[in-house]
């Protein structure tokens, strides 16, 4: 067991347990915090894959902006933080069967494609510069790059419109 494998297993366990706690804890603020732990766990996984830029981008966007937004909304709209009803719905046996089937299917698919055995390529030193070049080169991702800016513009217009009508109603 190399050190990388140990670190990976630890991170995976922490991420999965946090994800489980997100959906099982009755307190919404705690759920948001477990979500933060899950997101940080995913960032650590990116680091283990040598994708440093993605790791910091994950923390900047998800933890620094989305988690904060979620906590704002939770704190501002919910008077009662605890969920009083039962934790599982009436259909939970069927949901469990479906989840197990889905998991089995994914495991079989990964094994048949051989992803688990494929070697991780060497990440070059100029990875971020290459990403930058690819983002604006016509043979690369320039269309998705510009479309992303249009998408962000549309998201902002939509959000302001929705909130604005609320303000004046």
């Amino acid at each position: 067991m190399t050190a990388m494998q140990i670190i990976f297993l630890l991170t995976a366990v922490v991420t999965l347990v946090s994800a489980l706690r997100v959906v099982t804890t009755p307190n919404m603020i705690h759920a948001a915090l477990w979500l933060v732990t899950t997101l940080v766990g995913v960032a650590v996984l990116y680091v283990l894959l040598s994708a440093s830029f993605l790791a910091v981008a994950q923390v900047v966007i998800y933890v620094g902006a989305i988690a904060i937004l979620m906590m704002f909304v939770i704190m501002l709209t919910r008077r009662e933080m605890r969920d009083r009803g039962p934790q599982t719905g009436k259909q939970w046996p069927w949901a469990a069967v479906l989840a197990v089937l889905l998991f089995g299917g994914l495991v079989w698919m990964v094994q048949s494609v051989g992803l688990a055995a494929a070697p991780v390529g060497e990440v070059p030193q100029t990875a971020i510069a290459d990403l930058g070049k690819a983002l604006v080169s016509p043979n690369g991702f320039v269309i998705p790059f510009e479309v992303a800016s249009v998408l962000l513009l549309a998201a902002l217009i939509g959000a302001v419109y929705v909130a604005w009508t609320r303000r004046h109603s």
Binding site: F53, I68, L69, F72, V73, L76, A129, A148, S149, L152
Partner: protein, 117 residues
């Protein structure tokens, strides 16, 4: 990878030191709670009602506009790193990206989403 190992160890240390301080404070200070001391501070008055905050949509709008700009700027960082190797159209494309988001800022400004009332 070595750099991240150092950063990871440093993060663990930086979580450890304030925790140590907090534990030190808990140990060294007296612990004599009584109902008056642990009551919520309300400038000397009794607390009425649940602890909740009036929902003002401004808070949400500020966080949302910040989110949009955060995502934009994260896109711009690889472009900035690769900048000196880019031909002119690479520069222009980046500028178009920034101009689109400046348009988003202007829209939010004109619609009054950035007012604190």
């Amino acid at each position: 990878m070595n750099a991240w190992l150092y950063v990871g160890i440093f993060i663990a240390l930086s979580l450890f030191f304030p925790a140590l301080l907090a534990v030190l404070g808990l140990i060294l200070g007296p612990r004599r709670p009584n109902p008056i001391k642990t009551d919520t501070y309300e400038c000397g008055l009794e607390t009425v009602g649940e602890t909740w905050v009036q929902f003002k949509v401004q808070y949400y709008l500020f966080a949302l506009v910040f989110l949009i700009f955060d995502v934009e700027v994260v896109f711009l960082y690889p472009w900035a790193v690769a900048y000196h190797a880019l031909p002119l159209y690479g520069v222009i494309e980046g500028v178009i990206f920034v101009v689109m988001l400046a348009a988003a800022l202007v829209y939010a400004w004109r619609k009054g989403a950035l007012e604190w009332s």
